[in-house]
Symmetry: C2
Subunit: 415 residues, 2 copies
């Protein structure tokens, strides 16, 4: 069971989390709980770090920031003990959760699940700090980066050979699209790991991408559930009824009757950059995108037009809106290599994606998508596709109309 | 160098601490810094622990509360790096600082100073979390109890074979008595470990008792200094001029021209308990004080009077004022063993102590003390003595008069 920052924001909420855990324990399930820091704590710690030293040492950043989960894990163990359960907290280095040396965005390399498993077998609840581990070479604490607790949870579930990994959040599952935007959006009972990955990279931020990848590789049944439901009104976990609550992430083969399209994702925080009048010679793309890759800027959609005169070309691509200023800087700095050009940019664009494993065996989804948008007079700026996803870049003003239209067109509307 | 909670209460103050450290580093001194948690942090953490579970597991208490120093140590390392110094933070378990298993009041058992020493030899500053270590058997974090950072500092100083251990506080040294009470009080340039111990147990709370004991046993030169002086206006540490700043704690033999009396200490938080009409039989004292010892109540002064009839006796003793309710409970519960008695209690009493190693070779101090008090009409309720201390219990109303009178009488007044 994993609980995020808003679920453990106060001692009262931590007590509520303890009631969820007690329900499982009382039903005979063995439990390890992974917790994030109390909401707000991590931000305060990061603020102090930046105040102390704006160009901070990532190892010291990790030492400071990792204290957040240490606190929430200890408090949850105390609440569980107060309810008569046996429990103890574990910090990443105590297990140990071994990580790479990339402080602040470390990867989990190995987890020894033996001590946790032994504790669980003896009827105790293991409470584990999310988001952190220890770099074995230096014996220093390393954090996994923001949202890393999801990854910790899946990795611990794999290490203790759990039957299921339940991720408690502030939503009660994965929806066909954002229910705040489309009231007819429906909760998905099941979603494949692949679809979930496409949703995450398309703006639906329920789970950290890396946690879904990890669950997929190890075929770990993972659920998304709400922690804000009354713990006594939820059924205890039973392997036969996993689909009855929340959304179950599982292998594609386990989704028997899949719809062609299972969800519509959208991201408004996109920015569009157009390079006008660049010389149309071999290697121009690599001279443009090479420096961006070196600067760790993630380029998403790319469109290239051949211009009328045959000598120059225009190139349009998207990056995350927050990366726009940095991207412009890098491009201007690379002018000597690229040659003369003119830059246009805008963050008034949105990406809308249609996702579904059914597309693998079903032709015509793209054509239907483009027609629906065209019928509403929505102009498509760029297109990108994968095996199970089609994304289009459109004007932000039309984003909500596009999502609602596609949600209805692909038969996703509920009552 | 050790800095307490008020000295690291904000990032700005931590930066000020870093300037003190930089001064020493720039002067060619090798430095390890021990820090407490930012003032207020520990209280918040303890409050959360109590809210989570009032009868808390001490191991989880330690896991939560130890995070405070983790934060301040990381932030200090970051501030030092920001000033161009090489620095890193160490948590107790990383060194390791091995402790007993008595969580929340653990004792330091052993410190491996090698890694710290190697870091210091290479010109880096080692920043160490005070107040905590690791219990080697369980690999769990243990704290030393409130004020334990002083002890951490002395222990680390011993482990790295330091020349001097500087304890920075919010006062600029040890005084002949409390300067808020007696404006003519003078800062002591030197004070012996033994005198410091008597002062600590007599109400002068500059340093934690255990830290002074440790410094005494290992003959570690220890200074008390103020962290609120401008770091640039303090001289860097030089072994030849240690007496010029703050107060130096050292062996008795190093204090050449000692005064007979070096300080007057007082404690207002005392409570007096009188047991009236208890049967005067052998073993009565052990039946009274046995249960108190079992309940970990520290009894200080004891006076027994034989009563007129020879059959019953009265017994007066003192405990800390905060322990009075618990003491009365324990005594009433022990009535079956002790036999019938009547209880009187009061916390309107104060203990005033005259302290000085010179008393060892100087008779008549007690007599002079009693005469001075008598001349002012101050009644003595109880007396206790050690080789270098005479304490009297008096009515609280007369405490300040008594301190001023004795300060003058024993020649301690400054200008």
């Amino acid at each position: 069971m994993k609980f995020g920052g808003t679920s453990v924001a106060t001692v009262d909420r931590i007590r509520n989390v303890a009631r969820h855990v007690k329900r499982e324990h009382d039903a005979g399930n063995q439990v390890a709980v992974i917790v994030s820091a109390m909401a707000g704590t991590t931000n305060q710690l990061v603020e102090w770090v930046r105040e102390a030293n704006p160009s901070f040492d990532r190892r010291e950043y990790d030492a400071v920031v990792a204290s957040g989960e240490q606190i929430s894990a200890g408090l949850l163990a105390l609440c569980l003990q107060g309810m008569g359960l046996k429990a103890r907290s574990w910090q990443g280095w105590q297990i140990p959760i071994k990580t790479s040396a990339a402080h602040r965005s470390a990867r989990i390399v190995d987890i020894d699940g033996q001590a946790l498993r032994a504790q669980m077998d003896s009827g105790e609840v293991a409470v584990v700090t999310g988001f952190q581990g220890i770099c074995p070479e230096t014996q220093r604490i390393a954090t996994l980066g923001r949202g890393g607790s999801d990854t910790s949870a899946v990795a611990i579930a794999i290490a203790v050979k759990a039957d299921v990994c339940d991720i408690y959040t502030d939503v009660d599952g994965v929806y066909t699209t954002d229910p705040r935007l489309v009231p007819k959006a429906q909760r998905l009972k099941k979603v494949s790991f692949e679809e979930m990955l496409e949703m995450a990279s398309s703006g639906s931020k329920v789970l950290q991408t890396r946690s879904v990848e990890l669950a997929m590789v190890h075929d770990m049944k993972t659920r998304v559930l709400s922690s804000f439901v009354d713990p006594d009104k939820m059924p205890a976990v039973s392997i036969d009824t996993l689909e009855e609550t929340g959304t179950l992430l599982c292998g594609e083969d386990e989704i028997v009757e899949s719809q062609v399209v299972s969800g519509i994702a959208f991201a408004k925080d996109e920015a569009k950059i157009t390079i006008l009048g660049v010389a149309d010679k071999p290697g121009v793309a690599s001279r443009i995108f090479g420096p961006l890759a070196d600067a760790s800027i993630n380029v998403d959609m790319i469109v290239q037009n051949v211009s009328a005169d045959g000598k120059t070309t225009d190139m349009t691509f998207t990056v995350g809106a927050s990366e726009l200023p940095h991207t412009l800087e890098v491009l201007n700095a690379a002018k000597a290599d690229i040659g003369e050009f003119e830059l246009l940019s805008s963050d008034d664009v949105a990406k809308v994606s249609v996702i579904g494993v059914g597309m693998r065996s079903h032709a015509g989804v793209a054509a239907q998508m483009f027609k629906e948008l065209s019928d509403k007079g929505i102009n498509i700026i760029a297109i990108s596709t994968s095996e199970i996803k089609i994304s289009v870049l459109i004007d932000t003003d039309y984003a909500e109309l596009a999502v609602r239209t596609l949600h209805t067109a692909f038969g996703l509307d509920g009552d």
